[in-house]
């Protein structure tokens, strides 16, 4: 697959994507700078994490008006698959490609840890080869990951099956009120969503940081969780139809 990677001043997860999608999974990854007015002819666009424009004004607010995002928007509107991770998710929400917004974590802390995620929908290019109900471990690293949307927006998300990941405990139990398993306070413990069509996906966790056994949950919890979760994180980026 040809992946176009969108890089802004302050993006810092672009190398993680190059490594995971390029070196580990064998995709061709080409980077485009915020001021570029083109994104090549990709199969997939990835907007990676970081602190675009220093998070000035609001996370993702300044990135959404950069020239390269006009091209990303066109690509998304024509049905092209777009994936936003962490700050990339915030940018896609700000640009209106995804509904909702990411508020500050309720804990008032920067969260850097592993979380358990439950697959809620396999209706997207990113999750199509997983099973609904699958639980896997994935790192998070953010200060503004508290997903928020108004009540009518939330019911629309739920009705259209647009929630794709929720934070959960290791057994897959989702408890939105629990600060251990829903560490940033997201509404409905939502960790990732898609647009209605399913071609735009955003999530706060960083699966690209967990595709390699070397950095995936060493000293982790239960026996087979270690290899299994690396496998799931890799599957996400395999992008097979």
């Amino acid at each position: 697959m040809n992946i176009s990677l969108i890089v802004f001043p302050g993006t810092n997860c672009d190398h993680d994507i190059e490594y995971s999608c390029g070196d580990v999974l064998g995709h061709t990854v080409t980077s485009y700078w915020h001021s570029d007015a083109e994104i090549g002819s990709p199969d997939i666009v990835i907007v990676p994490g970081g602190f675009s424009y220093g998070d000035y004004l609001r996370c993702g607010a300044l990135a959404k008006i950069s020239p390269v995002m006009k091209e990303v928007e066109k690509f998304a509107q024509s049905g092209g698959p777009v994936l936003g991770i962490c700050n990339g998710f915030q940018i896609l929400c700000e640009s209106g490609l995804l509904p909702g917004v990411l508020l500050q974590n309720t804990s008032r802390r920067f969260l850097s840890r592993f979380v358990s995620l439950k697959v809620e929908s396999k209706n997207t290019f990113f999750t199509s080869h997983l099973s609904e109900g699958d639980v896997f471990e994935c790192p998070v690293a953010h200060f503004d990951g508290n997903f928020y949307i108004d009540p009518s927006g939330l019911s629309e998300l739920e009705e259209n099956n647009q929630v794709i990941f929720r934070y959960c405990d290791q057994n897959g139990s989702v408890e939105p009120e629990c600060s251990l398993t829903n560490p940033n306070g997201s509404l409905g413990a939502i960790a990732g969503i898609s647009n209605k069509k399913g071609n735009v996906v955003g999530l706060m966790p960083h699966p690209e940081r967990a595709v390699d056994m070397l950095v995936s949950m060493i000293g982790g919890r239960t026996g087979n969780a270690l290899s299994r979760q690396t496998e799931v994180n890799r599957e996400l980026f395999s992008f097979q139809a």
Binding site: R108, N146, D150
Partner: protein, 81 residues
């Protein structure tokens, strides 16, 4: 024409920053201060002839960038001379 834009989280949206400030104040003995909300003040000049025009431009700028209207309200003011 000088304009001030006050951007605030909508009522009902959790203001984590406000909560932190409130706790900080309480720690300094200001337990009588509650319901703290932190907003953002943006000031700028609009090149036009009247405040009404400036307000209209500022309002469009808020919708386009300065506020995220999913979670924030904005108020446009003429600064005191």
């Amino acid at each position: 024409m000088k304009v001030q834009v006050l951007v605030r989280l909508k009522e009902g949206v959790l203001d984590v920053q406000g909560k932190a400030v409130e706790h900080g104040l309480a720690g300094l003995g200001y337990e009588d201060i509650g319901s703290v909300r932190v907003g953002r003040l943006v000031e700028f000049d609009v090149d036009c002839g009247s405040f009404a025009e400036a307000k209209d431009r500022a309002s469009k700028a808020c919708e386009a960038l300065l506020a995220n209207t999913i979670i924030e309200d904005f108020e446009i003011r003429e600064p005191a001379a």
